[in-house]
């Protein structure tokens, strides 16, 4: 729903005032601006920003303190007695064994789950979106509306029967393909809808010209539709990747929960379930799982925001 949401947010909702806006000079806008930014508002903004950042900052600081320090007092003591160690990160990432966090393996699992689970739905959805936008056939509108309507089905509605299909019919429960397929299915309705919005805006003349030159649908799809939709594919792909990376529910149901397949989120949920025993590991463990979303967030913020606004109704 990206285009709708963002466009609605951007569009002035009283079009009649547009004329006035253009007639007035920029100087006036400046004066109003100055008057609206009071020092109190700035103070309140900085206060909220600080309150919002402290929890994450505290955990980051904790992750670099020694296990004894984490257990015995709060992270704010770092300002009194500074210390720094990478011990926790080494412990959760590299130490092998039954009782260790073993996050190295789970990190690999998260990648192995998230990359195909982001690519599969995007590709299948692009194909469907192209067909709904540019191949004329009877019932196309009705099927498209039906797919759009599927977004209202919470994925909880599908979990039990889908798990039965995976375990009893296909026999793939607890493997990577099971998690890939589940994420692909749950991602499809939204991806098709968003990509359809985008692909249907490609100018008809471009497609028509290619058709006149003798290109068939497969050729048009690869030579025109995919190159022209790359920005949209990137936004939606990034969102789908992060959605899968951050997901816990689908992983819990379909991955089987072992170090062979389960992603980071699932291991973190297990570790936090025994908070008392794992508290010195948890800050570092949490940051290992947060690092990928945070890199994506700060480096690709524009795409990220677009994709997020688009996909916020998912799940």
């Amino acid at each position: 729903m990206s285009t709708d949401v963002t466009a609605a947010a951007d569009a002035p909702e009283q079009p009649t005032t547009r004329a006035i806006a253009t007639a007035a000079g920029g100087g006036k806008a400046r004066r109003v601006k100055d008057r609206l930014t009071s020092p109190w508002a700035t103070f309140a903004a900085i206060l909220i920003a600080t309150l919002w950042t402290i929890p994450t900052f505290g955990l980051l600081v904790s992750s670099f303190r020694t296990p004894e320090e984490i257990r015995s007092n709060g992270w704010w003591n770092i300002f009194v007695s500074p210390s720094f160690t990478l011990e926790n990160y080494l412990d959760v990432l590299t130490v092998q064994g039954a009782s260790s966090a073993n996050l190295g393996s789970y990190f690999v699992n998260s990648l192995v789950i998230a990359i195909p689970a982001a690519l599969f739905p995007i590709i299948i959805a692009t194909m469907a979106a192209y067909a709904f936008a540019w191949i004329k056939f009877r019932g196309s509108g009705a099927i498209f509306v039906l797919i759009f309507a599927l977004q209202i089905v919470p994925l909880q509605m599908a979990l039990i029967p889908l798990l039965q299909i995976f375990s009893e019919v296909l026999g793939i429960s607890g493997t990577f393909p099971a998690v890939w397929i589940a994420h692909t299915i749950f991602g499809l309705p939204l991806c098709i809808f968003l990509l359809h919005n985008f692909i249907s805006e490609i100018p008809g003349e471009v497609i028509e010209a290619a058709r006149v030159d003798g290109a068939n649908h497969t050729q048009i799809f690869f030579r025109i539709v995919i190159p022209l939709s790359l920005p949209a594919l990137a936004s939606i792909g990034i969102f789908q990747f992060l959605w899968v990376w951050n997901d816990l529910l689908v992983a819990l149901v379909f991955s089987g929960g072992t170090a062979d397949v389960a992603p980071l989120t699932q291991r973190l949920a297990e570790l936090v379930g025994n908070f008392g025993r794992n508290q010195e590991r948890l800050p570092a463990a949490a940051f290992i799982s947060l690092i990928v979303p945070l890199i994506v967030f700060f480096s690709l913020q524009r795409y990220f925001v677009r994709g997020l606004l688009a996909g916020s109704t998912k799940g």
Binding site: A8, A9, A29, W52, G74, F221, V272, Q279, S312
Partner: protein, 330 residues
């Protein structure tokens, strides 16, 4: 260490194989459609393009949703199959005190999270509008939206952590603050019903950034000149905010509130990671998982999923209608 590397190679091998198989299947389907007999080639190509989506959705979403609805009227599945029990699963839901608490909790969540997130997000968007460093200030509050609910749960577990008095120093900031101001520390996540409020706080912390980004964009769409005109007519900052800005962003407000409501109704990970649904904090999505997958009560789990569907349904319908209207205005 070598065990780790061989593990890594074999897993990436599976991934590359999976990607290759996928590419081969998609390629083959499109190639065959390309080479289809001239008569009806359009239909073959159409089938190639929409077929995969329709098959996946029919088998993976439509059929399961129908089956879940059916399962909601049957008892748990055993080796001997299951019995039709009519509305018993729903009666169970509304008569078991602990499940009634689950339903009430969900209502508390959906009442508080959208309201508080929108209020904080709107206030923050107004405060930072056109201020210095707007981008940085935005990023700071928006950041929680990027991370997983499980990660957010761990962050807040440390904020709420409780140590008995005299046992050791507090390691949770909130309890340390209570100690500093001379109060007794509290086990925030144990004492019902306030623990639900503290879980809700985590969701508000995440969703405020989302509300802020959308509302900030909407506020920038309200022409400065109307606000200026209101000011010239003698309205103070508060009046012009309520009478000019808020009506100007009403459409976006509706979208923000409904979107957060839907996300809140489906919340699972936060409860799972922070209390596991213990101490009367469970919500419908978490209880559905517990019943269906921890206890094997497929009937109860399915009934809860159906209830969740009917809670989400009106909000989605309303949301779509509002968006349609906005499209018409444009």
């Amino acid at each position: 260490m070598s065990a780790f590397w061989s593990d890594l190679v074999s897993k990436f091998g599976i991934m590359v194989l999976g990607l290759a198989v996928f590419a081969a299947v998609v390629g083959l389907v499109l190639f065959l459609a390309d080479r289809a007999p001239k008569r009806g080639r359009d239909y073959w190509q159409l089938a190639a393009f929409v077929g995969p989506s329709i098959v996946l959705l029919a088998v993976g979403l439509v059929y399961p949703a129908i089956r879940t609805t059916v399962l909601a009227f049957f008892s748990r599945q055993t080796a001997n199959g299951s019995d039709f029990v009519g509305l018993d699963n729903f009666v169970w839901m509304f008569t078991q005190p602990e499940i009634v608490i689950v339903l009430v909790n969900t209502l508390i969540w959906v009442a508080l999270v959208p309201t508080l997130s929108t209020i904080f997000g709107l206030a923050y968007a107004v405060f930072i509008d056109k201020s210095h460093g707007e981008k940085v200030l935005k990023s700071l509050v928006f950041m929680p939206m990027a991370i997983s609910f499980v990660g957010a749960g761990i962050i807040w577990r440390f904020m709420y952590e409780y140590r008995e008095v005299g046992f050791s120093e507090q390691i949770g900031l909130l309890n340390q603050i209570l100690v500093w101001i001379g109060q007794d520390p509290q086990p925030f996540l144990v004492n019902s019903p306030w623990n639900t409020i503290f879980l809700i706080n985590v969701m508000v912390w995440i969703q405020t950034g989302f509300a802020m980004v959308l509302l900030s964009a909407a506020i920038k769409g309200v022409p400065v000149e109307i606000i200026e005109a209101a000011r010239l007519d003698g309205a103070n900052a508060w009046q012009s905010f309520w009478n000019v800005t808020v009506p100007g962003i009403r459409g976006t407000l509706v979208v923000v509130i409904t979107t957060i409501s839907i996300a809140t109704l489906k919340v699972f990970d936060i409860v799972r990671a922070m209390t596991g649904g213990n101490f009367d904090t469970s919500v419908v999505a978490n209880e559905m998982y517990t019943q269906a997958f921890n206890r094997g009560e497929t009937g109860y789990g399915s009934a809860l999923a159906v209830v969740l569907f009917f809670m989400v349904l009106p909000i989605v319908v309303y949301n779509v209608r509002v968006m349609r209207k906005q499209k018409e205005i444009r």
